[in-house]
Amino acid sequence: MKTILRLTICLFLLNATYTSCQSKMVQIKGGEYLPLYGRDSLNVKIKDFLIDVYPATNREYVDFVKKYPKWQKSKVIKLFADESYLRAWKSDTILGENQKEKSPITQVSWFAAKEYCECQGKRLPTVDEWEYVAMANKTIPDARREEAYNQFILSWYEKPKTFNQTIGSTFKNYWNVYDLHGLVWEWTIDFNSVLVSGESRKDVDTDNNLFCGSAAVNATDLMNYAAFMRYAIRGSLKAKYTMKNLGFRCVKDIKK
C-alpha cells in the first residue's frame, strides 16, 4: 500500500516537474530475433517500445538523489547497495572532482537503477530488449555478423576507464540510440536470468534453454564472443552490486 502510494507520488512529481529533465527517448520497432543462448525454435518476440537515447548521467542522478534522499549514499539501505555505491562522489549530492556531469552514472545498484526508472514512469529494459537494440550498428538493425562492428565492441573491452567519457561520445546506431557499446555496461531488469553460474563450463547442464558457457555447443553464434562477455558480466552480478563500469538506461512500454 505504502509502495503504491509512494509510486503515485513519484509519478505525480515526475509529471509535474521532471518532464524537462527526462532524457530523450526513441521508438524501437519490435520484431523477432534469435538470442545468443537460443536455438532455431527459440526466436524471441520483442514488442515495440521506447528507449532512452543515452544512458542516465551523473547530472540526472544528482537530481534524482536530491528528490529521493533515501538513495543518497549516506542513507541508502545496505541491503539495496553495496559499500561501493556512489563511492567516487564527494558527498551525498556532489560529484567527485574528476567526474563530469555528462558522464554516465555508474556505481549504482540494480535496486537504485530500477527505482530511478520507475520514478520517471519507466522501467529497466529486459536482456532481450537491450540485446535487440544493441545488435544494430550505424546502418543495419542486426549487425552481429559484421566483423567491423564486433571489432569495435571488442576493442572497447580492451580500453581502460571508458566510464570517464561523456554520453554521446560513441556512435548513433540504426535506432538513433547512443553508447550501447563503448562507454559502460548497463543494468537490465532480468540481468541474472540467463544463468552464468560462475563455472561457465558446466552451465550447459544448469538450464538447457538459458545458458551461457564457453563450451557452448548450443549457442547460436560461437564467434559472438563479445556477447558471451556481456552475459558473463551479467551473470557475475547481484542486485546490490555496484561497479565503476556499470550504468543503465530506461525504457518504456508503448500503450496501445
Binding site: V196, G198, E199, S200, R201, S214, Y225, F228, A232, S236
Partner: protein, 484 residues
C-alpha cells in the same frame, strides 16, 4: 589438544616402525591427506615469474591465506607490439603459489574496480567443483573467498574459467601452484618459474601497435606468439635466469596454452630428473619433456659447465620465429674434460676452391720459377683461378658488390700500385680503403696461392675490364713476399 598430538605422534611412529620392519609396501604411500592436522595460520608468499617463494620444507600443515588480485592491463608483447593482458597478480603467468599437502588454503580473489570483466579461478590443485571456479566468480570491484584442502602433492596449473574461457586464458590468465609433498622437495641451489603460453593477435606476428585478441586465429590454433612468461624476451638478455657451475637447478615449468603442447627443452643440458606432468613419477636423463596445455613438469639438472643455455619449445619454429626462447646463463670455471670448447678451426672445401698444400710444391716451383709463362697462357690460367677464388666477392666482370666488396674493373686503387695489389693477395687486407671514390670497409682473407698463381690471377685481372694491362711476373710476387 596435547593429548591429540601425542596420539598422532604415537600413531605416526607406529607406522614408521612397522614400515621399517616389514617389506616396503605400496599401500604405505596411500595416506589419507584429508585428515592431515593443521596448526596455525600463515599468509602465503606470492612471487612473480621467474621467481618462486622459499621452499615449504618440513613445516607442519597450516591454514594458508592467499590474496590474489586480478588486473587487466596493457603490456609489451615484443618491441613495438602492445597487448592488453588479463593477469592474476599483475603478471603473466600469475603469481607463483607454494603450499604443502594437507594445507587448508583460504583463497581470496579480488577483481580490481577498474577492470571491465568478471573473472574466476579454476585451480587444478583443488578437489571440488570447477576447481574453485564456481565459488570464485567475481565482478569488477568485488572479491570472493573460498577454501580447499590440498590433498595431492604436485605442480598444478590455475587459470580463469569465465566465458569465453579460451579468451581469458589466451590473454594470460594462468599460473602455477606447487603443493609440496610431506617433508618438502629435496634441496636444490636454484629454483625458477617458467610458463609457456600462446597468443593470437589481429595483426601478423611483429605487426606494430596495440594488438587486439583474434578469436578466429585462436580457434584455428594459429598462434602469432608462443612465449615463456608472457612476452618475447621475458627470459633473455638481462632477464635470463642464472646459475653457477656445479649448482643444481630446478625449473617449475607450466603450460598455460590455451592450445599448444610444449616440447620443453634446454639446449646443451640433459634433465637429470623430470617429475612427469608435475606429478610424483620421476623420469631420468631426459632430453625433451612434453608439457600439455593445462599441465606442468618439474625438471632438475646440475649445471656442470659455464655458458648460455637456450631454453626452447623444441617445436622449433616457435622458438626462433614466435618467441619461445629463454636463456639460462651459467658462470664459473670451464671444465675442459666435460666440454672442450673449440679445439681446432680449419677450412673445409668439399667443392674444390684453391689447393691449400701441394706435396711436391718445391719441385714444381723450381720448374716454373725459371721460365716465365707467355702472357696468353698466364691470362688463361689466371682466369680459371679467378673464377674459383675471387669470383664470389669481386663478381664475374670485376664489378664488385656495392658497399661490400670493391670493384676490380677500372679500379684506380688497383692500377695505382701493383706491388700493393700483390701484397693484398698474399697477406689479405682489412680496414677502410677508397676505390673509385667510394669507401669500402670489409675483410679480404689471406689467399693460399702459390707465387705463380698470384702472378697469373693478377695478370688476368690487370688485363681485363679496362685495367692497365700490367703483366705481373713471378719475380715481382717473390720480391713482395720477401720484402714483407
Amino acid at each position: 589438544m596435547r593429548l591429540l598430538k601425542t596420539v598422532c605422534l604415537l600413531f605416526a611412529s607406529g607406522l614408521l616402525l612397522t614400515s621399517c620392519k616389514s617389506e616396503p609396501k605400496k599401500e604405505m604411500a596411500v595416506v589419507d591427506n584429508s585428515s592431515i592436522y593443521i596448526k596455525g595460520t600463515i599468509e602465503a608468499e606470492l612471487t612473480s615469474p621467474p621467481f618462486v617463494p622459499a621452499p615449504v620444507g618440513n613445516r607442519t600443515a597450516k591454514k594458508l591465506l592467499i590474496d590474489m588480485e586480478i588486473l587487466e592491463k596493457e603490456g609489451t608483447m615484443t618491441d613495438g607490439v602492445q597487448y592488453v593482458y588479463w593477469t592474476f597478480g599483475g603478471s603473466v603467468p600469475g603469481s607463483f603459489i607454494r603450499a604443502r599437502v594437507g594445507d587448508e588454503i583460504e583463497f581470496t580473489l579480488s577483481n580490481h574496480p577498474d577492470n571491465k570483466l568478471p573473472h574466476n579461478i579454476d585451480m587444478h590443485a583443488v578437489t571440488g567443483p570447477g576447481g574453485g571456479a564456481t565459488s570464485s566468480f567475481v565482478a569488477p570491484g568485488h572479491k570472493k573467498t573460498f577454501s580447499f584442502k590440498a590433498l595431492n602433492p604436485g605442480l598444478f596449473v590455475y587459470h580463469c574459467a569465465t566465458a569465453p574461457v579460451g579468451m581469458h586464458i589466451a590473454n594470460g590468465m594462468y599460473g602455477l601452484i606447487l603443493i609440496e609433498p610431506e617433508g618438502g622437495l629435496p634441496k636444490v641451489d636454484k629454483e625458477y618459474y617458467i610458463m609457456q603460453g600462446d597468443f593470437y593477435t589481429k595483426g601478423a606476428t611483429d605487426e606494430k601497435g596495440l594488438q587486439a585478441f583474434d578469436m578466429t586465429k585462436a580457434i584455428k590454433e594459429d598462434a602469432d606468439y608462443v612465449v615463456f612468461n608472457g612476452k618475447v624476451g621475458a627470459l633473455t638478455g638481462d632477464n635470463a635466469i642464472t646459475a653457477n657451475v656445479g649448482e643444481t637447478v630446478r625449473l617449475f615449468v607450466g603450460n598455460g596454452g590455451p592450445n599448444l603442447t610444449s616440447s620443453f627443452h634446454v639446449i646443451g643440458e640433459i634433465f637429470d630428473k623430470v617429475h612427469i606432468e608435475g606429478g610424483s613419477m620421476i623420469n631420468e636423463n631426459v632430453q625433451t619433456t612434453s608439457i600439455p596445455s593445462g599441465g606442468a613438469a618439474i625438471v632438475e639438472f646440475k649445471v656442470e659447465v659455464p655458458g648460455t643455455f637456450i631454453i626452447v619449445d623444441h617445436a622449433i619454429f616457435r622458438a626462433f620465429n614466435k618467441g619461445a626462447l629463454g636463456m639460462l646463463k651459467v658462470t664459473g670455471e670451464e671444465n675442459k674434460k666435460l666440454y672442450s670448447g673449440v679445439k681446432q678451426e680449419g677450412i673445409y672445401h668439399p667443392e674444390g676452391g684453391t689447393i691449400q698444400t701441394m706435396p711436391n710444391n718445391d719441385k714444381k716451383k723450381v720448374a716454373v720459377s725459371n721460365v716465365e709463362k707467355p702472357l696468353a697462357k698466364k691470362i688463361a690460367d689466371g682466369k680459371q683461378l679467378y673464377m674459383t677464388t675471387c669470383f664470389a666477392c669481386h663478381q664475374a666482370e670485376g664489378q664488385g658488390i656495392p658497399n661490400a666488396f670493391p670493384p676490380l674493373a677500372k679500379s684506380d686503387y688497383l692500377n695505382a700500385d701493383v706491388k700493393r695489389a700483390v701484397g693484398i693477395v698474399l697477406n689479405g687486407k682489412t680496414g677502410e680503403i677508397t676505390v673509385n671514390g667510394n669507401k669500402y670497409n670489409s675483410v679480404m682473407t689471406k689467399q693460399t696461392l702459390s707465387e705463380e698463381e698470384v702472378a697469373d690471377v693478377l695478370t688476368y685481372v690487370y688485363n681485363s675490364w679496362g685495367n692497365n694491362k700490367t703483366n705481373v711476373s713471378v719475380n715481382t710476387v717473390k720480391e713482395v713476399k720477401s720484402s714483407h
